[in-house]
Symmetry: none
């Protein structure tokens, strides 16, 4: 369904290379169009708690077909999707998860990155995406 | 992996002594470098609901290699890690959990304390840490 | 409720001493009369998967006020309590969990041991009990 | 803790190569010494339900430092560890999970494979191990 393992591994390796450039230790997860885990890497010394977060970011991005940070804008107190994080066994709605599209603009999966600031997480996720374009 | 039981028990007993000095009833948990429970004590009369919180604080501190209160600063509404508590089966991000380092500065585990104000929880956790230095 | 931390720690240390005599690496949990975790120790190198099992054995023994192995007799296929393990978030019904009684014969908690054969687990649990008589 | 990502990816790729030789579609997971996910791959078309099983097999193998199939021998009805699967949030005890050791014989992680018969799962897991010797 959607992304192939070959593509997923390519995105994973590009994200790792970007993290190494930035001297960061990241957990990186790729899910397919069905939001199922397809590829995962924990760089040596990356936060243990970020294994789960990277996977949840990738799933969240595919669940709603938008970057996780966008969902987080709407899930704040008073927001329209307040505490949506309680659904689906637990969502992560801060930046670091991004849908992956094919050349036709169809969503074929998502990438989730966790291990640093949310800005760095997002940057590394984008590097993974870029490898597939 | 990391802290030994002998060390963990020493930290536990030092935390208990501090709690007794302050006339507090605490739950105290120590996890190892893999975030696995290594030692635990519930002082007589300590809150039942704090058993789970003490363990989660210790795990959270090791998951992200920082005091739990630091993480809680970033997980507030509008903060960069809003609702990170939904990951890893449930995090606790208020003070009372602190990573434990060895002489070389490597993290070998973490301590989590729960049963009083978060300030007291943190103070008792620090007393546990101090016993290992 | 029931066992004090002082008693629980005494039982824990006696169980550890017995495990050392037998050259075993055990996880040992003590719960109180309310089946709440009161004391826990993981000996260096004990199985990681036995942390959870030791706690479940102690809880199971107090949940039904009998040694876990007795319950396991009845939970076999065709038995009267077939698959009772599905209750209470997951029970463990093989030997290694034993209720703890006071001098008056009242149950004040339970001990659970995991890390070796079920026979050794039960032997080490009994050594913990014996320290309180 | 234990296996590096480089080693884990090497084992992953060797397992994939073996699966391709046998014309199988597998999910393959590697955990570190702390039983934390370190690398994962789902080959195109592999069973969706095997994502979780591959991860649980790897974790189970490290939790008890033995091949999952060995544990399954003891967890049968009437066996000493009947229904141990209810612990640790759910174990998988049929073949396909194997601990990974370093040259000194120390366990540094585990591999779990799911997607075919348990014999094939085990064979592919062994191919992953072999890449590290």
């Amino acid at each position: 369904m959607g992304i192939s393992y070959e593509q997923a591994d390519k995105a994973l390796k590009a994200a790792i290379a970007k993290a190494q450039d930035l001297d960061l230790k990241m957990n990186i997860a790729i899910v397919d169009a069905g939001a199922n885990l397809t590829a995962f890497a924990r760089m040596d010394g990356a936060w243990l708690g970020s294994v789960d977060i990277a996977i949840r970011k990738a799933r969240t991005a595919r669940f709603f077909d938008m970057p996780t940070g966008d969902l987080g804008q709407a899930s704040q107190p008073g927001g329209p999707l307040y505490n949506i994080e309680h659904s689906n066994g637990g969502l992560i709605t801060f930046p670091g998860g991004i849908p992956i599209k094919n050349g036709a603009g169809e969503i074929i999966g998502a990438i989730g990155v966790s291990g640093s600031t949310v800005e760095n997480d997002h940057t590394v996720a984008e590097a993974g995406l870029k490898a597939l374009t």
